[in-house]
C-alpha cells in the first residue's frame, strides 16, 4: 500500500482555508461593513400591535344598561413618515385650535430630538373625533402624509346618572404603567368607582401581536414566530346592585341640594342607590368634551366630583341615638324602663346646657321616638363612668361604634375609596384635654355631635343593623359578572355584638318616630308602608345645620334601608325624612302617593342657604 499519510495535509489545508474564509466573512460583517450595524439601529423595531377588547357593559339590577360603549377616532402622526402639511387646513378639518396642533407636534418632535421617544412611535395629535365627524376627515386624510386615523372605544351612558359610583375610565398615567406591566402609556383603565373595582373583569384581556417592522413601519414578520402573541378577550358584562330608576329618582329629588343618599337592601348588603349631589352627566367627561368640562367640574365650588355618599361626612346627629340605645342595653345598665329625667336640657356646666324639649322622664322607647337629648347625654356619661377610667369607658364605647361601622372604611367592600369618618381614639382626647377629661367632657358625642363624623353609607348601614337585628353585610355593588353571581361570601357578615332581644325596643322607638304622634318624623307617615326611622341634625358651625335621616321599611321583613344627609337643610325631618320616604315608596311601589310633596322636594333649592337662626338639635 502506498503511503497516503501526506493526505492529512489536504484535510488540514481544507480546515485552515474554511477558517480563514469564515474569519474574512466575519471581518466583513463586523468590522469593515458597518451597514449591518446601522441596519440594526435603523430598521429593527418590534412593534406591539394591541387589539383592545370592548369593555364590558355595566347593567343595573334589572338588566338595564348603565354603561355601554361607543367609539371615536384619534389622529396619530408617525414621525418617520410625516411630511409638512397645510396646518390651517388640518386644524380646520379636525376642528382643533392651531395652537394646540403646534404645541402637540412641537412637543413630539422635541421628545424625539432628546431621544426620549422613538421616531417609529406614533404620536396622538388629535383625540376623540366623534364617529359623526369622522367621515369628512377620512376622505381628506390622504392629503396629510404620515397622519392616520385610529378607531377606539369610549364609554357611553344611556342615562346620565350615577356618575360618581360608576366611576371613570381614563388613560393611565406613569404611576400605573410603572407598577403593572399589563398597562402601557395611553391604555385606558378604570380610575374610580365601579370601573376601578371591577377593572379586571370589565377590561377583558387585550390581545398583543408582536411584529418586526422596518423604518416605514411595514410589518416584516412575526416576532418569535408569534410565540408571545395573545388573543384579545372581550370584557365581561357586570351587573350591579344599583336600581337605575331609584338612582335617577334620588338624583332628581336631590337636584339643587348638596348631600347624599344611600339605599341598601339590609339582608344582602346590596347597594340600591348611591347618590351624591350635586352630580353631573357622566357623558360630559367622555371624549372631546372632557377637556373643557373636567376643569369646570373640578373648580365648581359645590364640588360635584366629590362623592359625598362615602366621604368623611358630618356628625351623624340624633341618628346616633339608635346606636347608643343598643350599646347601652348590651352593657346592661339600660333597660326599656330605664328613665332619665329631662327638664328641657342637659346641664354640662354652669354656663353650658344642651337644650331639649322637656320630655319629663322618658323611657327608652320614648327617648328614641321623641329624640330626647338629655336622655342620651346621661346615657353616654353613665356608660363612660361605669369603667374605672374614662379612657377605658370611652374605649369600650368606641369599640361598639366601630363594630357598627362608624370610623371604619369597609375594606372588603367593592366600592372604592370609602372614607372612615371619625370616631376619635381616647388618645386624641388625652392630647387635647391632657389628664382631665371625663364622660361629661365628651358628652356631645352622646347625641352624635362633637368630633364624630359619619357618611350617608354609614348612617344607612345603621338602619340595616336594626333591620337585621344585630348584623350588617358589607355594602357592595357587584351582583353578577357575566352570568355568574358575585360570590356573596366575600362580603362579610359583620356582627355588632348586641343581642337580638335588645332590638325590639329600638325598632319600636324608630317605628314611633315615624308612625306615632309625638314622633319626630310623624308627618311623613305612609298609610300602607310601615317605615321605621330616626331623624338627626348635624351641627354646622359654618352655616345652616345639615339634615340627617335614617330608616328602613317595611317594618316586617325589611326590603330597603336608607341613609340621607342634606347639607344646610336644617332639622332632619324637614327635607331628609320626606325625601327618604319618597325613595322608599318609589322602590317598593314604583310610584308616589304624594305628588305634591314630591314636587316640593324636587323644586326645593338649598344650594345657597345662609344661617338663619340657631337651630334646635333633634
Amino acid at each position: 500500500m502506498k503511503d497516503e499519510s501526506a493526505r492529512k495535509y489536504i484535510y488540514i489545508g481544507m480546515f485552515v482555508f474554511i477558517a480563514i474564509a469564515f474569519i474574512f466573512k466575519l471581518m466583513q460583517l463586523q468590522v469593515i461593513n458597518t451597514e449591518y450595524n446601522r441596519r440594526f439601529a435603523d430598521t429593527y423595531a418590534i412593534k406591539r400591535i394591541v387589539r383592545f377588547p370592548a369593555r364590558g357593559n355595566i347593567l343595573d339590577r334589572n338588566g338595564e344598561i348603565l354603561v355601554g360603549n361607543d367609539y371615536a377616532y384619534d389622529i396619530y402622526m408617525l414621525p418617520t413618515d410625516a411630511e409638512p402639511i397645510d396646518t390651517a387646513d388640518f386644524c380646520y378639518l379636525s376642528d382643533i385650535p392651531k395652537e394646540d396642533f403646534v404645541r402637540v407636534s412641537r412637543a413630539a418632535w422635541k421628545r424625539i430630538k432628546n431621544k426620549e421617544a422613538s421616531k417609529t412611535e406614533p404620536v396622538p395629535i388629535v383625540r376623540d373625533i366623534s364617529k359623526e365627524n369622522v367621515a369628512t376627515i377620512q376622505e381628506k386624510m390622504s392629503k396629510f402624509k404620515g397622519y392616520y386615523l385610529e378607531k377606539k372605544s369610549l364609554r357611553k351612558y344611556p342615562r346620565p346618572i350615577a356618575a360618581l359610583i360608576l366611576g371613570e375610565v381614563a388613560e393611565c398615567d406613569t404611576a400605573i404603567t410603572n407598577h403593572d406591566p399589563y398597562y402601557r402609556p395611553g391604555d385606558y383603565i378604570g380610575k374610580s368607582g365601579i370601573e376601578k373595582s371591577y377593572e379586571k373583569v370589565l377590561r377583558g384581556v387585550k390581545g398583543v401581536r408582536k411584529v418586526f417592522v422596518d423604518v416605514k413601519q411595514n410589518e416584516k414578520g412575526k416576532y418569535l414566530d408569534g410565540e408571545e402573541d395573545t388573543v384579545s378577550v372581550q370584557g365581561e358584562n357586570l351587573t350591579v346592585t344599583l336600581d337605575a330608576d331609584l338612582q335617577e329618582y334620588g338624583e332628581m329629588l336631590m337636584k339643587n341640594k348638596k348631600g347624599a343618599i344611600v339605599a341598601i337592601e339590609p339582608n344582602t348588603g346590596e347597594v340600591l342607590a348611591l347618590i351624591s349631589a350635586p352630580t353631573y352627566d357622566p357623558n360630559l367627561l367622555v371624549g372631546r368634551g372632557r377637556k373643557q368640562n373636567y376643569p369646570k367640574l373640578l373648580l365648581d365650588p359645590n364640588k360635584p366630583l366629590y362623592n359625598r355618599a362615602i366621604m368623611d361626612g358630618y356628625p351623624p346627629g340624633s341618628t346616633f341615638k339608635i346606636f347608643q340605645a343598643l350599646a347601652g342595653q348590651q352593657e346592661g345598665f339600660i333597660h326599656n324602663d330605664t328613665r332619665y329625667p329631662c327638664g328641657g336640657g342637659f346641664r354640662i356646666s354652669a354656663s353650658h346646657t344642651i337644650d331639649c324639649h322637656g320630655h319629663g322622664s322618658p323611657d327608652l322607647v320614648t327617648s328614641i321616638r321623641a329624640s330626647c337629648n338629655s336622655y342620651y347625654c346621661r346615657l353616654f356619661v353613665n356608660f363612660v363612668n361605669r369603667y374605672p377610667t374614662p379612657e377605658e369607658g370611652y374605649g369600650a364605647w368606641k369599640a361598639y361604634a366601630n363594630r357598627f361601622g362608624f370610623g371604619q372604611n369597609f375594606p372588603d367592600s367593592d366600592i372604592p375609596n370609602i372614607k372612615k369618618g371619625n370616631v376619635p381614639p381616647p388618645e386624641y382626647f388625652d392630647k387635647i384635654y391632657p389628664g382631665r377629661w371625663t364622660g361629661m367632657t365628651l358628652v356631645s358625642l352622646g347625641i352624635g355631635q362633637g368630633e364624630l363624623q359619619a357618611n350617608a353609607l354609614q348612617i344607612c348601614n345603621l338602619s340595616c343593623i336594626v333591620a337585621n337585628r344585630g348584623y350588617w353585610i358589607t355594602p357592595h355593588v357587584g351582583k353578577k359578572v357575566g352570568n355568574k353571581e358575585v360570590d356573596p361570601s366575600q362580603f362579610k357578615n359583620n356582627y355588632v355584638g348586641v343581642d337580638d332581644k335588645y332590638f325590639d325596643v329600638v325598632q319600636e322607638g324608630m317605628y314611633g318616630a315615624v308612625n306615632q304622634p309625638g314622633g319626630t318624623a310623624y308627618f311623613v307617615k305612609l298609610p300602607d308602608i310601615i317605615i321605621c326611622g330616626k331623624t338627626g341634625t348635624a351641627q354646622n358651625p359654618h352655616g345652616e345645620n345639615h339634615s340627617v335621616f335614617t330608616c328602613y321599611a317595611p317594618r316586617e321583613n325589611p326590603k330597603i334601608a336608607i341613609g340621607i344627609l342634606i347639607e344646610n337643610a336644617g332639622f332632619g325631618a324637614t327635607w331628609a325624612a320626606p325625601i327618604a320616604t319618597l325613595m322608599i315608596e318609589k322602590y317598593l311601589k314604583r310610584k308616589t302617593s304624594r305628588p305634591s310633596m314630591e314636587k316640593q322636594m324636587m323644586e326645593g333649592n338649598l344650594m345657597n342657604v345662609k344661617k338663619t337662626s340657631r337651630s334646635h338639635d333633634n
Binding site: R7, K8, F15, I18, A19, L26
Partner: protein, 465 residues
Amino acid sequence: MGVCFAVGFFIMLFDSRFYTNLWYIFYGGSLALLVLVLVVGQTVDGNKSWFVITSSIKIQPSEFAKFATALVLAKLMSGSNFSFEPTSKSRAVFRVFERIPVVNATVSGTLVFVALAIPAVLILLENDTGSTLVFVSFILVLFRFGLSWLYLITGVLMIVIFLVGVLNPPHYVLISLLIAGSLASFIFTDVRNGWKAAAFMIFFFGLAMLLPGWFADLLPACSVDLKAKEIKLCPGYPGWMPPWLPPSLPALLAIATMGVVSVICFFLRRLIGAGATILAIFIFLTSFTLAVKPIFNYVLKPHHRTRVMVLLSKEKDRRGAAWNVENSKVAIGSGGFLGKGYLHGSFTKLKFIPKQRTDFIFSTVGEEWGFWGSSLVLLIYLAFLIRLILAADRQRNRFYMVYGYCVACLMFFHYFMNIGTTIGLAPVVGVPLPFFSYGGSSLLGFTILFWVFVKMDSQNMQILR
C-alpha cells in the same frame, strides 16, 4: 451536562476493543432505532426524528447513528483486503465483478457506500435534511483511504456550478468552467503530492466560497419572483419546450444525459489513460451546467429553492425564508469588533433569532463577543480539528485511524455548516455546533463520538510503549 461527564467517564472505563468488536451491535441497534422512530417517533420542527420521553427529555436516534456508522466505516475500511481501486489482492470471486468496466469498483469499496446509504436514507425519510447531509459528509473520510480526489473535486465543482448556474445563463458558467478547467489541468500534473493537492483544494474551495458568498451581488441578476409557482430566473428557459411535455421531462433528460456522458467518459478513461480524466470531468460538468436549471425548477422542492436563494443573497425578504439568516447576520454585525458583552446582546435578549440556543448559537457569540471573540472561537475549533486529524493519522491500528478521521470530518462538517449558516456562507440545514449548542441528544452524541476516540488514542499510545 452532568450526564455527558458521566458518559465520558464510562467510555474511558471500557477497553476500546469493546467498540471495535461490538460494532455490529451498535450499527444494528442504531438502524433498529431509526426504523422505530419512523413508526413511533414524534415530529419536532417538522422532523419526525424524535423519541419524546418527557417534554424536557427528547432523544434523536440519528445522533447515535453517527457514532455507529463511524464504527462500521472503521471496521470495513480497516480490513486487509480493503481498497477502492481494483487490485490483485481481491478475491477471485470478486475479480469478475471488478472487471466489469462500468462498475469499476471493488466490492469492499461498494460496501462502504451501502453502509452509509442505509442510515442516510432512513434519516431522509424522517425529513431531516441536516442529518442526512451529515451522513453524506462521511464521504470526506474516504479520500484519506484511497478514494480518488477527483470525486471530491468534481463534487465541489458541481456545487459551485449549481450555485452560479442558478442565477446565470449557461454560457456564462461554461466560460468560467473552461478557465477553471485549464487552470486545473495545469496544476493536475502531480496531484498525489500532498502539498500541491492542498493548494489545489484551496483554490477550488476558494472558488466555491467566494462566488456565491461574496460576489453573488455582482453577478448579472435575473428577476426572482418567489411567489410564482416556479422560480423563473433567466428569460428564455424553458420556452423551447412544447407545452404538452411534462415539466419535469427536461430535468429527467438532463440527468439521464449526465449519466450517459459519465459512462462514456469512464470508457474513454480506460482507453486513453489518465489524460482523459480531465476531459471526462469537463464533459460531465458541462452537461451538469445545462441541467442546473431543470433540476432547480423541477426536482427541488419550493422550500429547498428558497434556501438556495437565501444563500445566494437573492432572497432578502426578512418576512420569509431569509429571516433567520439575515437576522443572524445583522446580529453578528451589530457585535462590531469588541462585542456587546456577555448577556448584553440585544438580539439575544429580544430572542430575535429562532433556535438561537441551538442552530444559531454562533450569532449570539458574534453579537456578544464581537469580531475578536468569534474569531477566537473559530481558531479554537481549527486547532481542535487539526489536533484530531494529527491524532487520527498517527494511529497504528487502522480501525482507530479510520474512526479518528470520521470524528474529525463529522466535527468539521458540523462546524462548517453551522457557522456557515449563521454568516450566510452555507445553506440553512439545521445542524448543531459541536459542544456549543444546547440540546441533550447532540451534545451526548458528540461526547460519545469524541471520548471513544480519546480512549482509542490512549490505547494507541500504550501500544507504542
